[in-house]
């Protein structure tokens, strides 16, 4: 059912929004949280399962050290306290994607708590920082994957039955929960989006997850409530699930503000419930009422011993944290002399780390940026692979740039050399040699090619002489073709005009 909504600007003029965000991140560990089953994405169904993650009687969990370490590192990167002692708990409920009939999670003793993340957004008064308070980050496990058969295609409603693949069951998850985020006013959608984006950058920087929202390794639930004024007590919140792109985070907040406002303005109450976000239509629909599902009867997990991270371990992990992505970004913008827009292009292309590596190896920042966001992005895109998967190293780019500045390669030949690298023909010098890539610097062959081009098109010389210099383009083109791109176009032009006795 489509519910009434109020225009967003009107809604914000009447109510004060309060946000809450829950983000689940799937860790990139080799094995599951409590057993040694592999976590590789896309394996045939039910081939990465064992008695532990299938919940077979008598099976006992064994805790993944890297899962715990990743949780601590995430907590530290989010400015959290790290628990001196904490336990897992059982969250009891029945659902076919969870074969144990409980999820092993943390309840009142999260491994990380009381942190914050600063995010920047554009406001009417320029760029502004909002501090998002973080309540906790805790460890838990993912569920299996249901597919629904019969009824409307693929939907759980009206399905005749379901099929379950437990490969994903037990993969480590970290749930990161904010405190109520107040004071955003009309910028609530932008703050929500900026927070998830900043969190994604931090998690990627930590290397703990591939953070692919479209593949579900980063998932976001949006909680929202409205109140009359910032002084009023918190209103009833809705929890919108399945918000799985940055754009949707922003849209879902906006939609819920408009929906709540319409209800409250009409004198209705907001129902505390779980809602489902629909990417295609941009609306949320009612899921289950929250109240009767909340009796999870948590109790301490008896099969896993408490975790008491030593302060030495925590400090060691803290010292090894990478630079905060926002700080690093600001530093690079200054070092490289980029605009914010250029930097956005770099970050969105996924080339930032690759450019940093190239610059560290001695490549000029502008050149490194040009190759990675231009030609190499195009090639990766054509092949449907990630930039990191290209076999191009900083050393390749460095050598390429040396040859270009020495004048022995031009841009076109450099691209051919890179193509050679990508198809595995060896290093730059080997490819240049094997493919015979070199700018023709000797005027003799160029003059011969010019003569040929003029002979093939006798009228063109007169046209140029009459002052229509643009006609020179076809001659230069013919010479470039004849020399297989190895001529220096500017030199060809120069020689042509010299020959015809015209000056530019």
């Amino acid at each position: 059912m489509v519910e009434a909504t109020m225009n967003y600007d009107e809604a914000i003029s009447k109510f004060d929004p309060v946000l809450g965000l829950e983000v689940h991140v799937e860790l990139g560990t080799n094995t599951k949280m409590f057993c040694g089953c592999s976590t590789v994405f896309g394996a045939p169904p039910n081939t990465q399962v064992c008695p532990v993650c299938l919940g077979l009687p008598g099976a006992l969990p064994a805790l993944n050290k890297i899962g715990v370490e990743s949780a601590i590192r995430i907590g530290l990167a989010l400015n959290c306290e790290i628990a001196e002692w904490c336990r897992f708990a059982r969250k009891n409920y029945f659902y076919p994607d969870m074969p144990k009939n409980f999820q092993t999670s943390q309840y009142d003793e999260p491994i990380a708590f009381e942190g914050y993340l600063d995010v920047e957004i554009d406001t009417d008064e320029g760029r502004k920082t909002f501090r998002v308070p973080i309540e906790r980050a805790h460890m838990e496990e993912d569920t299996g994957k249901n597919s629904h058969v019969g009824g409307a295609t693929g939907r759980i409603h009206g399905a005749d039955y379901s099929l379950v693949d437990y490969n994903r069951a037990g993969i480590p998850l970290i749930e990161i929960v904010t405190k109520p985020i107040t004071g955003t006013g009309k910028y609530a959608p932008e703050v929500a989006k900026a927070y998830v984006a900043a969190l994604r950058d931090i998690l990627r920087g930590l290397g703990v997850s591939d953070v692919k929202m479209e593949q579900g390794s980063l998932r976001c639930d949006v909680n929202l409530s409205l109140r009359e004024t910032p002084e009023s007590k918190l209103g009833t919140r809705s929890e919108t699930k399945n918000v799985n792109s940055l754009r949707s985070v922003e849209r879902a907040v906006r939609y819920e503000v408009s929906r709540h406002a319409a209800r409250l303005a009409a004198g209705d109450t907001v129902v505390q419930e779980t809602r489902h976000w629909h990417e295609d239509t941009g609306i949320s629909t009612s899921g289950r009422a929250k109240s009767d599902a909340e009796d999870y009867r948590y109790f301490p997990e008896p099969d896993l011993l408490p975790i008491a991270p030593s302060r030495e371990w925590v400090e060691e992990l803290r010292a090894a944290l990478p630079e905060n992505p926002a700080v690093r970004r600001a530093r690079l913008v200054a070092d490289w002399g980029l605009s914010e827009i250029d930097m956005n292009t770099v970050v969105n292309s996924g080339a930032l780390d690759l450019i940093v590596e190239a610059v560290d190896a001695g490549v000029d920042p502008a050149a490194a940026r040009k190759w990675w966001t231009g030609e190499l992005s195009r090639i990766a895109n054509d092949r449907g692979i990630e930039l990191e998967e290209l076999p191009v190293t900083p050393a390749h780019l460095k050598r390429l740039e040396e040859l270009i500045s020495a004048g022995s390669l031009n841009d076109k030949l450099a691209r051919q050399a890179l193509e050679g690298v990508i198809v595995g023909e060896g290093d730059i010098d080997e490819i240049v040699k094997a493919r015979g890539l070199a700018v023709v610097s000797d005027d003799g062959p160029l003059l011969a090619a010019i003569d040929e081009a003029l002979a093939a098109d006798p009228a063109v010389a007169e046209t140029i002489k009459s002052g229509k210099l643009a006609a020179a383009g076809s001659v230069v083109g013919a010479v470039m073709k004849a020399t297989r791109g190895q001529a220096d176009a500017a030199r060809v032009r120069e020689l042509l005009f010299e020959k015809l006795g015209v000056s530019e």
Partner: protein
């Protein structure tokens, strides 16, 4: 008396997916009450200086290295399933029709 009501029993039965006929709710309420009362004797002790214990083993930080071990084959994993389709566990409809 801890006071387990028939409504409490019905609620717990619902959460545990156990069918308990209405005429037996009182029977179980009485039994659960007796169990809770027996356990409640512990609260008569002074435990102000005793840390709560959830695990009888005085150990922490028992970890496994992140190295893949042996998993079951799909055939083994599915061998005990009441119904199988497409290498997956086939389960009854999850949501009742509304």
């Amino acid at each position: 008396m801890s006071g387990i009501s028939q409504e409490d029993v019905a609620h717990l039965a619902r959460l545990a997916h156990i069918d308990i006929p209405a005429d037996q709710l009182g029977h179980y309420a009485k039994q659960l009450d007796a169990i809770l009362n027996a356990v409640a004797e512990v609260s008569s002790l002074d435990t102000a200086n005793v840390a709560a214990m959830s695990h009888p083993v005085p150990m922490t930080n028992v970890f496994r290295e992140d190295i893949p071990g042996v998993s079951l084959t799909a055939e083994q994993a599915l061998s005990g399933a009441p119904a199988v389709e497409d290498e997956r566990f086939r389960v009854p409809r999850i949501l009742d029709e509304e």
